[in-house]
């Protein structure tokens, strides 16, 4: 007797009629998709009550393959949509899927303001170090000197540290992880899903088709994963390293995990004592009650 075929338990979340998906072989987007579904499943979240928000780009196609309400197709406005959804319907859990370009190039202003406000959404940023869908142009997190489609002589653009930016702007859960470290990626996304407030999980991911070929001269996903591993240093390990050793590396792990009142609107009538509590703005926490929202 043959055993019944094993079916991936996450298949129930997937729009099977949309298969095959459009990601290139070896792309990290599929790994992020699975990691997200593992998180939803492990936490027993009701995906029916959740909404995914995605802009444009390869990353933005991730939720299109999930049986889930999804907004899709405008570059960089994910957090603006999410703000509207969350303010009107605070019980809807919102997860944003954004590429590096979507999140902090065209969407940079929304990013810092969503962090400042502590908008109650999780933003998963797939950082593949380039604008992938448009063919591999330089992006805000492209490593200096990299050859891309639009930096044939090497990139002269200094990169953002996305996590430092998120922390400085006020995000309340911030972690960096990589598709080369699946258990850590799963943990970061799961924690992000549990968090209430503005969470940012930056996933360093491989785009073999464009970043791999332009910057590393190889379309091998394995080579790209090795390269990502090579630039990752955990925060703990970094403690015992010299600044020269850390130069050019990206720290992984959690940068902040704290609680702060979540955003409910630019002004609101304070009713209950708990509302009052949440009405003072960070920046003057000592003078509770004196600050107006």
């Amino acid at each position: 007797m043959t055993a019944a075929p094993q079916i991936n338990p996450l298949r129930k979340y997937v729009r099977e009629d949309r298969m095959p998906h459009f990601f290139c072989p070896g792309c990290g987007c599929g790994q992020v998709l699975s990691s997200f579904l593992r998180g939803v499943d492990a936490l027993g979240l009701d995906i029916d009550k959740m909404t995914a928000v995605a802009g444009v780009g390869c990353t933005a196609r991730i939720p299109v393959y999930i049986k889930m309400d999804t907004l899709h197709g405008v570059h960089g406005r994910t957090l603006a949509w999410a703000t509207g959804i969350k303010l009107h319907s605070p019980d809807t859990k919102v997860v944003v899927f954004a590429g590096d370009g979507d999140a902090v190039s065209i969407g940079g202003n929304h990013f810092i303001h969503a962090a400042r406000r502590n908008l109650d959404v999780l933003m998963i940023v797939v950082n593949n170090f380039n604008f992938a869908m448009t063919g591999g142009q330089v992006a805000p997190m492209t490593p200096p000197g990299s050859v891309t489609m639009t930096t044939p002589y090497g990139s002269g653009e200094p990169p953002f540290d996305l996590c430092a930016l998120a922390v400085a702007a006020g995000a309340t859960y911030v972690a960096r992880t990589a598709t080369s470290r699946i258990p850590q990626m799963d943990l970061a996304i799961e924690k992000g899903l549990k968090h209430s407030g503005f969470g940012v999980v930056e996933v360093l991911s491989q785009c073999p088709t464009h970043f791999g070929r332009y910057a590393l001269g190889s379309a091998s996903p394995a080579k790209l994963l090795d390269w990502i591993e090579g630039i990752c240093v955990s925060r703990e390990r970094a403690n015992s390293m010299t600044s020269e050793q850390i130069e050019g590396k990206l720290l992984t792990g959690e940068f902040v995990h704290k609680s702060r009142p979540i955003f409910k609107g630019s002004t609101f009538i304070q009713e209950s004592p708990s509302d009052k509590e949440s009405a003072f703005i960070e920046g003057c926490p000592d003078k509770k009650g004196e600050c107006r929202p």
Binding site: D48, T51, V53, D69, L71, G84, I85, L87, S89, H113
Partner: protein, 392 residues
């Protein structure tokens, strides 16, 4: 909406509808119209001469259980409105011309996913808060892609209230963005405003699907029709994508899908044009000369008409409540009946081209246009008519 919703209801401290006779500024009339229509979400970014709309909303909306957001820019405002709308809100934003530029992207999305949204554009001159009607083409043709925009052009404070109510109703009925095209003139003017009793104000609400998630197709509609709505977080698994999508909402690269979608979206509005694009006739029964205007320019036209009528001239006014979709029938009818059709506009002459096209050479046409930060005076209109020669 659970606890949050209950808390908001409790916070409802004021009446939504301020029934009674008021002496009110135009921008505040927009606020009251929106509330009377059921608006419960507003996002805006500071800009003169639209600021009183944000100011009014920030005070009134939380007091009736709604949400006020001051976006970090207009891109936030318009897209937050789109997001809130898909979550089920009756949502509005307001700006003045320079801010309206930024709305195109959110409007393109609203058109594509058929999100009811209300947008107020208080037209102003480039960089300054003087009167103009120069956005008349942009409010229709601004966003990329095939679409038919619904644009209402009030002429008074009363109409700012009435048309804002109507804008919300049209947005719900046709699942589309609707523009209230205001102007510095009426937005900052104070006039008598009568707000009817609440039950006398017609309000159209979201048409939620009665189908189950198993049988529901989010973009299925009759020919020229409007799909029913499922919204977010209710288990319908809808993709609201700007990309070409089939009735299921799936992104499809099939020319037939493109054609079906890109035909239905404009047609659901243009095929109902006669119902949407109302006009008002003033002394048109025996008129041989028609002044055609929209927005605040209707006012000096009516004065000019009265003055000419006193001199025995057979002049009437055609007031276009809704410049877009273009009131084709009403205007082409002028071509058949009039000797002279004159468009009066506060810009260098934009909409006049449409009027002349619809009259299609069957009568004489003329334009009275200026863009000097000022509305026309009746005398200026009379003078211009004199230059056009014989007015019977």
């Amino acid at each position: 909406m659970g606890q949050e919703g209950a808390a908001k209801e409790k916070a409802a401290k004021e009446n939504r509808v301020l029934t009674g006779v008021h002496f009110m500024q135009g921008n505040y009339a927009v606020v009251e119209g929106a509330l009377a229509a059921g608006c419960n979400f507003f996002a805006g970014y500071p800009i003169t001469p639209a600021n009183e709309i944000s100011e009014g909303m920030s005070k009134r909306l939380p007091a009736v259980g709604g949400v006020f957001l001051q976006g970090e820019d207009e891109l936030c405002s318009i897209n937050a409105v789109a997001g809130a709308s898909l979550a089920g809100a009756k949502a509005m934003t307001a700006t003045a011309s320079a801010g309206y530029d930024y709305f195109q992207e959110g409007l393109e999305y609203g058109v594509a996913v058929e999100a009811p949204m209300v947008i107020v554009d208080v037209q102003r001159c480039r960089g300054e808060n003087f009167a103009t009607q120069a956005d008349i083409m942009q409010v229709h043709w601004g966003p990329a892609g095939d679409h038919e925009m619904v644009v209402l052009a009030p002429s008074s404070v009363q109409e700012l209230f009435d048309f804002t109510v109507r804008a919300f109703n049209l947005a719900e009925e046709y699942r589309t963005p609707v523009i209230v095209l205001s102007e510095t003139t009426i937005a900052l003017m104070r006039e008598r405003l009568v707000i009817p009793e609440e039950d006398k104000i017609p309000v159209v609400n979201r048409r939620w699907t009665s189908k189950t998630p198993e049988t529901y197709l989010p973009f299925e509609a009759e020919e020229w029709g409007v799909p029913d709505f499922a919204g977010l977080g209710r288990g319908y698994h809808t993709i609201y994508s700007i990309n070409p999508h089939d009735e299921k909402g799936s992104i499809e690269w099939d020319p037939d899908v493109f054609q079906r979608l890109y035909t239905r979206i404009p047609a659901k509005i243009s095929k109902h044009r006669e119902k949407i694009s109302t006009v008002q006739h003033y002394r048109m029964d025996d008129a041989k000369t028609a002044l055609v205007a929209y927005g605040s320019e209707v006012r000096p036209c009516l004065d000019a008409m009265t003055m000419l009528r006193e001199g025995g001239k057979k002049v009437g006014v055609l007031k276009l409540d809704v410049p877009w979709p273009f009131p084709e029938e009403a205007v082409s009818d002028l071509g058949k009946r009039m000797d002279l059709v004159v468009t009066v506009e506060m810009n260098t002459g934009k909409y006049a081209g449409e009027i002349e096209r619809a009259c299609s050479g069957r009568c004489r046409t003329g334009r009275v246009t200026k863009n000097r930060g000022l509305i026309h005076s009746p005398e200026e209109i009379l003078e211009a008519l004199e230059c056009m020669g014989e007015v019977s």
